[in-house]
Symmetry: C2
Subunit: 120 residues, 2 copies
């Protein structure tokens, strides 16, 4: 007789895995928070705010967020090109939760770093 447990990680049925995997990367959350604070930003503006992101990763990150319908991309047919990014409604409905997460992190950062340093 098998122990019929498993299935907590089923990718098809676990929305957390399926959806949240997408902004568990290095930059997505940061871009979302920045756009949430600033409203509308051009590519180079985001690039300057997040001083350490490479052009390539910013492109990749914005594209992923756009594909998921979290970021809206508006390109103006000018030269040199101008592209503006902003949050969609969907992303805006997510931001309060991310803000809570950020608050939790703020509140607990010191203790966590303390725990880490004790762990040798």
């Amino acid at each position: 007789m098998e122990n019929e447990v498993k299935n907590y990680a089923d990718e098809e049925h676990c929305p957390v895995r399926n959806v949240l995997d997408r902004f568990g990367d290095k930059w997505s959350m940061l871009v979302l928070m920045l756009l949430s604070d600033m409203g509308v930003l051009r590519f180079n503006e985001i690039h300057k705010y997040i001083g350490t992101i490479s052009q390539k990763m910013l492109t990749v990150t914005l594209k992923k967020l756009e594909v998921d319908g979290l970021v809206q991309r508006k390109a103006y047919p000018e030269i040199p090109p101008r592209v503006e990014y902003s949050l969609t409604q969907r992303a805006q409905s997510l931001m309060p939760i991310i803000q809570e997460l950020a608050q939790w992190a703020n509140k607990n950062m010191a203790d966590i770093q303390n725990s880490r340093s004790k762990a040798v």
Copy 2:
């Protein structure tokens, strides 16, 4: 004159980066949710619930969570060994936010997948 912007990603001062990076990996969130649902679990029980995690990654994940003071590890000096894992208070204060995140993901999963499929 330089454009004095930057610093949105400063790792020293950004608690979100610093703290949340740790459970943006493949398994941490899942382990936290499982322990939140189940209370106290032994290593092999977690392993069975999350059918697809390797022994190594479960060890690594639990150790990281323990170092951050999110998971409590209690080893009984028996043979064969028995080790029980549970959430700390700190992790429990985080769980409501993770639950909200999960609810958001649940609510928005279908739309997001729809957006993705449209994006070719």
